[in-house]
Amino acid sequence: MRISLLLFILLITSAISLVTARHDTRKVVNEIELERNKALQIKNHHTNLVIEKATLTSRSRIERLAIQKLKMKYPKREDIVLLPPPPARAKQ
């Protein structure tokens, strides 16, 4: 009689803990899913930033900005003076 009571209590505890465990799993799975989505969003954001960087640093854009905004210009042939390389490099 005692044993069956004990077993009954054990059975109930086990059943309840099974339910809580399942509930917890669901919560954790949901959380991990949210985190995964977040990671994906961050990755997408990173991609967009890479594209933005590529666009902003493109040679054509820099050239255009330098000429139009900063009023820079390419030096003419006669404006370029070549200096001999420093002795250490000249030795090579």
Partner: protein, 577 residues
């Protein structure tokens, strides 16, 4: 009261009523039990599967396509997430949707209202409304909460450098499959493998359980190209400028690193915008530098001279009688276009690009001698760059060359090559006789080549090629102050329906720098310049100079022309005289 209740108790109900009730109840239970038995054993599989369909799902794990970068890690092709709006017309009752929602939807998607309505009354369970829209617009669409409309995440390739790298990198289909260029050749490594997993969802469509991953997604591997983004842009814009200035059909530029065999830039004009599919026409898609073959003309002469030097038929200072620029072979006459003299050294022949001189040198050899050098330099062979559709060009076997053929081949007529092949062949003059394998992949280390000619021959030809950019040469416009530059001009009549067209030319220039230790080769070809100028020295050489100058500074190569440096030093120390 008592007597009355007693009398009620005394009423005896008929026994059959109780029995009937018991039987009915028993039968009810039996029916339930039978049904339960039926559901749980006989029909179990079907019902379980149906139930699972309601909550369990196999979802695709999308693999992202590998990034393509240039040699410095700058993105040339990248996959971005986009949303595709899909609908299930079966779940949609058009009348029940507020009209203003539909109007808003059509505005967001940029579609006509009629079109959307037509799509939504189709008798299907799945239709695309609009493919590949930005995630921000997609979010607004979902905020409308139109039932039956859902999103699918897809990836779209984006090419930040647009038309400058279009031919090289190529593009993918809407489903991320490489269709052209390097996207096509490296499809296997770039694509990766999409995986799948099984999940359970609840009524709110939240994932409540991950049953298991059937296969994990393997993202595509990144591809680092040998290309330098900035140099590529310069090559492209110079090709474009030259083609427009000289009213040419097309122009191409190739830049090679002679040490590593890496292709630093390869550009063509006209090009297309890989981010806009409507600009695609077969004519624009062609990567002319690799896929088009043409008669190289005079840019082939150095190889003839190399073969003759190698076989000890001539020395650089051997005098050749060029007969005032007219040389008859059978019924054909070979002409020289550049200033005529009667006696020229071999060096002069290269410097002034004499057809007669080259033809005469060629006829001193056996056909096989010339053929071997040409063939070993990669003419008539695939360049094996892994670019899809690369051509091998044509070089006929020496066994059946006629005399006239042997003469014309020596100055680049009767053979055809691609610009990439031509650029690669010039590595034998940069690497002391070694032909270097070319690649589009970042290599970053010296690569060994295969020997074609001796280093002595190679050095002699290089010295001759240097005279081309010096005073008296045909390529003076290729000279770069501070650097010693060697190169060769080419002006070939174009073949039109098997006949050489009188007024249609292909101008080219192939050159190396710095001569003291050639690190770079730049090859330029301009097709049908019709703005008045057509000589390679006038049309292609300036393009060469600009691209080479940029390449030398990009790679940080020291100047080697000390004459000019001494002059500059003097100017700085003493001021101009």
């Amino acid at each position: 009261m008592t007597s009355k209740s007693q009398s009620v108790l005394k009423i005896r109900l008929p026994v059959w009523r109780a029995r009937l009730l018991v039987t009915l109840m028993f039968m009810g239970f039996m029916a339930l039990a039978a049904r339960a038995l039926y559901c749980q054993s006989v029909n179990k599989d079907f019902l379980q599967a149906e139930a699972e369909k309601r909550y369990a799902r196999t979802t695709k794990l999308i693999a992202t396509r590998g990034l393509i970068t240039d040699r410095n890690g700058e993105a040339l092709a990248i996959s971005t997430a986009v949303e595709t709006v899909t609908a299930n017309p079966g779940q949609i009752n058009l009348e029940s949707i507020a009209p203003e929602k539909l109007i808003k939807l059509s505005e967001l998607l940029g579609l006509k209202l009629d079109y959307i309505k037509r799509r939504l009354i189709q008798k299907k369970t799945f239709v695309y409304l609009k493919r590949q829209i930005s995630p921000n617009v997609a979010r607004e669409v979902m905020a409308l909460k139109v039932p039956g409309i859902s999103l699918q995440t897809e990836y779209k390739r984006y090419y930040p450098n647009g038309e400058a790298t279009a031919h090289l990198v190529g593009f993918t289909s809407r489903d991320q499959k490489g269709q052209e260029g390097l996207e096509y050749s490296y499809q296997n490594t770039l694509a990766g493998k999409s995986g799948s997993r099984r999940i359970n969802r609840n009524a709110k469509n939240q994932i409540i359980e991950e049953v298991g991953t059937i296969s994990a997604a393997e993202n595509g591997t990144e591809l680092s190209l040998s290309i330098d983004r900035n140099l590529q842009y310069v090559a492209f814009s110079e090709a474009k400028n030259a083609a427009i200035e000289h009213e040419a059909k097309s122009a191409s530029v190739v830049v090679l690193d002679t040490l590593t065999g890496e292709i630093l830039a390869l550009a063509n004009w006209p090009s297309y915008n890989p981010n806009n599919r409507s600009s695609f026409t077969p004519k624009l898609l062609r990567n002319r530098a690799i896929i088009d073959q043409f008669e190289p003309g005079s840019t082939l002469k150095p190889f003839t001279v190399a073969a003759a030097l190698e076989g000890k038929f001539v020395k650089p200072n051997t005098l050749i009688d060029i007969e005032d620029g007219r040389f008859r072979i059978g019924r054909r006459t070979i002409n020289d276009t550049h200033p005529k003299e009667s006696l020229l050294t071999v060096t002069d022949i290269i410097q002034r690009s004499s057809n007669v001189g080259t033809a005469k040198i060629s006829l001193m050899m056996k056909p096989k001698d010339l053929w071997e050098v040409l063939s070993h330099s990669g003419f008539g062979q695939l360049p094996t760059s892994r670019f899809p559709g690369e051509v091998r060009g044509s070089l006929r076997s020496a066994d059946n060359w006629k005399t006239i053929e042997q003469a014309t081949i020596s100055y680049g007529h009767g053979v055809s090559v691609s610009l990439l092949q031509l650029a690669r062949a010039y590595t034998i003059f940069a690497r002391e006789g070694m032909l270097v394998p070319v690649t589009f992949e970042k290599r970053m280390q010296k690569v060994e080549g295969s020997r074609v000619i001796s280093s002595t021959t190679s050095r002699s030809v290089l010295a001759m090629l240097e005279t081309v950019t010096q005073e008296g040469g045909t390529g003076t416009k290729a000279a770069i102050p501070g650097y010693r530059v060697a190169g060769k001009t080419g002006t070939a009549h174009k073949l039109v329906r098997g006949q050489y067209a009188r007024d249609k030319y292909r101008s080219s220039f192939v050159g190396l720098a710095p001569v003291s230790n050639p690190r770079l080769i730049v090859a330029v070809v301009v097709d049908e310049p019709s703005g008045g100028k057509h000589y390679g020295g006038d049309v292609a050489a300036p393009v060469f100079r600009k691209v080479m100058e940029e390449a030398l500074t990009t790679l940080g190569i020291d100047p080697d022309d000390f004459v000019i440096e001494q002059e500059a030093k003097r100017q700085i120390l003493q001021g101009p005289v």
